[in-house]
């Protein structure tokens, strides 16, 4: 058995991630995820982590820094580069009573474990009745000049794979509350962390070890009367920025942060559209069959009578995420694009 000397590690000193909050007690999104993982590992010994470079190294983004010192190499398990087997192993251990949390180094590499995720993990319970409490965590999304293979948003693929719950939080508090809920959930969960948000957004995140955010519930991040923006992930932050500008022009935007993609909180979406009668669906995955296609379809079918204007989708084009800053900026919806779309819609 391959054993590792921890002395060689660069993974911190087994100190709680809570110690990484800033002087005002604010946690970044990254630290918030780490806190959630840590607390659940303290709470339930069946929880363990597995993945590439998560132990001695502390994870490519350092989310699990310090974990191996606290929880040991058995519960913070470094694996070879075998995505299919990481997922399969997590499923097998879950079937035997553990609650594994597997990290993908980038969400992009979920396609390398795709069959075990969408065939084995997703479909096992519906056919057998055996619970498979596995969490798959992965840094997703673009905006960081990482090009096609380190910027992907795989949530539409998994949202179209029945049996997986899918979460894409945009704020530290939601990230912490949702990772904890995912770990406690008896179903397989895909938990997508946004790498652009990781170190950019801070919050006073709750410290109560039983603080949870329910899976499948959206949240209104900004109330407004005129136009609804339905979004999630990095785009929520852009939407909120756009809303500020638009407010100065007298357009009052409501921003819905889906937080979970599966189950989708259609109630929250419809309630908002019933109020505003206008919806922009804003998302970061490719436009064609991206998450917003489901959202827009739900609105078109269920909110038809309250709509005063077309349901507008705003999303990147159907091409791989490009590297060059000039191209990536053209690829991703920018704050000004959002402002333009809302202006146009509210003038409809």
């Amino acid at each position: 058995m391959a054993t590792r000397t921890l002395e060689a590690g660069a993974a911190g000193h087994g100190a709680e991630p809570r110690g990484k909050r800033d002087d005002d007690g604010q946690a970044t999104y990254l630290v918030a995820v780490a806190e959630g993982l840590w607390e659940e590992m303290e709470r339930d010994e069946r929880v363990f982590l597995l993945g590439e470079d998560i132990g001695v190294y502390g994870g490519a983004f350092k989310v699990t820094e310090g974990f191996i010192e606290r929880f040991g190499a058995e519960r913070v398990m470094d694996t070879p580069i075998v995505e299919e087997t990481i997922v399969g192993m997590a499923l097998g251990a879950a079937m035997e009573g553990f609650r594994p949390v597997a990290e993908f180094q980038y969400a992009d590499f979920m396609s390398s474990g795709f069959d075990e995720i969408t065939t084995a993990l997703a479909r096992y319970h519906y056919r057998s009745g055996v619970p498979a409490p596995v969490v798959l965590r992965a840094p997703s999304g673009g905006g960081v000049r990482a090009s096609s293979f380190h910027s992907f948003n795989p949530e539409p693929w998994f949202a179209h794979s029945p049996g997986l719950k899918v979460m894409c939080p945009a704020f530290p508090t939601d990230a912490k509350g949702l990772i904890k809920s995912a770990i406690r959930d008896d179903n397989p969960c895909v938990f997508l962390e946004h790498k652009w948000i990781y170190r950019r957004v801070k919050e006073k995140v709750p410290e109560d070890p039983d603080f949870l955010i329910p899976i499948g519930k959206a949240e209104v991040k900004r109330e407004g009367r005129d136009v609804t923006i339905v979004s999630y992930g990095m785009m929520v932050h852009h939407a909120l920025d756009a809303a500020e500008t638009l407010a100065q022009e007298g357009i009052d935007v409501e921003v819905i942060d889906l937080r979970s993609i599966v189950p989708l909180d259609t109630e929250a979406i419809l309630a908002s559209v019933a109020k505003t009668s206008r919806a922009v669906v804003l998302y970061e995955s490719h436009r064609f069959l991206g998450v917003g296609a489901e959202v827009a379809s739900v609105i078109a079918q269920e909110a038809f009578e309250s709509l005063d204007a077309p349901v507008v989708r705003l999303a990147p084009p159907n091409v791989p995420v490009p590297f060059s800053p000039a191209l990536e900026d053209a690829y991703l919806p920018q704050v000004t694009d959002i402002e333009d779309a809302v202006r146009k819609l509210s003038a409809w």
Partner: protein, 354 residues
């Protein structure tokens, strides 16, 4: 099964590899049951009385019964589409297996899957088979990891065919099991064909067993025609895994007697090869003869056994036909654990006709 009785007779007679008369008879029962089931189901399929598909394991009963017999009840088994006989040996009930074939509520998957895509994790620790090859190999690593982590003397066994060994998951799982010294027994049921593809189209080496070297684990090739050889070699591997000695690769060689599935006449299998195996390497016949020649069974006991098996089959068939279909409205239930579908009695209002 599984308890190795070391009575005097057993110790004196090497051929019985430590098994008691009762155990030997039990093995014969299992071999014959699997054979009979396979034949009868194929006949029903040909008559158009069976929905879906069937994957005959005929000719491979020596492998299926032999590898599973050394397992304990709480050891886990991860087989494929071809390994229903292994699942039966591990303890699936014929009634529920047949209800599964006919899409009934009493099938192990409550009608959600058919034929050998079956399993009973809570009961017999058998994986509900999936098609994608060999998708359960990595999963077996996870179960074995759980046993090791908790210090339980348990073993995971995974079976796949010769063809599945060319797939990347096979390599990943063997490699990982060796790195982490997991208590797994890897079984390759080498029936010489992967659908229409013969071994040389699947791998360039003469045997699969020798590939064990690439994973620094023992590799054993056994003759699937001799159930006791299979039993003994696998038994050693199971014991080793249970004792913390890590994984083993077992290649058990036989021939697929029938086509890949019910619809395939398997014309690509040379006649002489097939005849040789059917006539000279029939694991069921061989074992019956072995027991006869050693006086463990005789005409009367074999006749009784055959009749018992027939009754078991008829009983299962009857049960399956009378089991209702699932209620159509339940199709959306049981996706999420929290809806409670799988922990409550299922609706039985689907009727027995479609």
């Amino acid at each position: 099964m599984a308890t190795r009785v070391k009575d005097k007779k057993a110790a004196a007679e090497q051929w019985r590899v430590g098994l008691s008369d009762d155990q030997l008879k039990d093995i014969l029962h299992k071999l014959k049951l699997c054979r009979y089931f396979d034949e009868r189901m194929e006949a029903l399929y040909r008559q158009g009385r069976l929905p879906g598909a069937i994957y005959s394991g005929r000719g491979q009963e020596g492998t299926h019964v032999g590898v599973v017999y050394p397992l304990h009840d709480d050891d886990s088994l991860f087989p494929t589409h071809r390994d229903l006989s292994a699942q039966l040996t591990k303890g699936l009930e014929l009634r529920r297996v047949m209800a599964q074939f006919w899409g009934r509520i009493d099938g192990y998957t409550r009608g959600r899957d058919g034929n050998s895509h079956i399993g009973d994790w809570q009961g017999n620790r058998t994986w509900t088979v999936m098609s994608h090859l060999p998708i359960a190999y990595p999963v077996a690593c996870g179960a074995a990891l759980a046993y090791k982590r908790r210090g339980e003397p348990r073993v995971a066994m995974a079976i796949c065919g010769d063809g599945a060994t060319s797939n990347g998951r096979w390599h990943e799982a063997l490699n990982v099991s060796a790195i982490f010294e997991l208590p797994v027994v890897w079984v390759v049921n080498n029936n010489q064909y992967a659908y229409s593809a013969p071994n040389p189209l699947e791998f360039p080496v003469p045997t699969i067993a020798e590939r064990a070297q690439a994973y620094r684990m023992p590799g054993v090739r056994v003759d699937g025609a001799n159930v006791l050889d299979v039993y003994q070699a696998t038994g050693e591997a199971v014991d080793r895994a249970r004792d913390g000695g890590g994984p083993t690769l077992i290649e058990s060689v036989s021939l697929r007697w029938r086509g890949h599935a019910g619809h395939d006449p398997a014309k690509y299998v040379p006649k002489e090869l097939l005849e040789d195996y059917m006539q000279n390497k029939d694991p069921v016949k061989r074992f019956e003869e072995l027991l006869r020649s050693n006086g463990v069974v005789d005409d009367t006991t074999v006749k009784e056994l055959d009749e018992r098996i027939q009754r078991e089959f008829e009983d299962g068939y009857e049960f399956a036909q009378n089991s209702p279909f699932p209620e159509p409205g339940d199709v959306t239930k049981g996706l999420w654990v929290e809806d409670g579908y799988w922990t409550s009695e299922p609706g039985r209002g689907g009727g027995t006709q479609t």
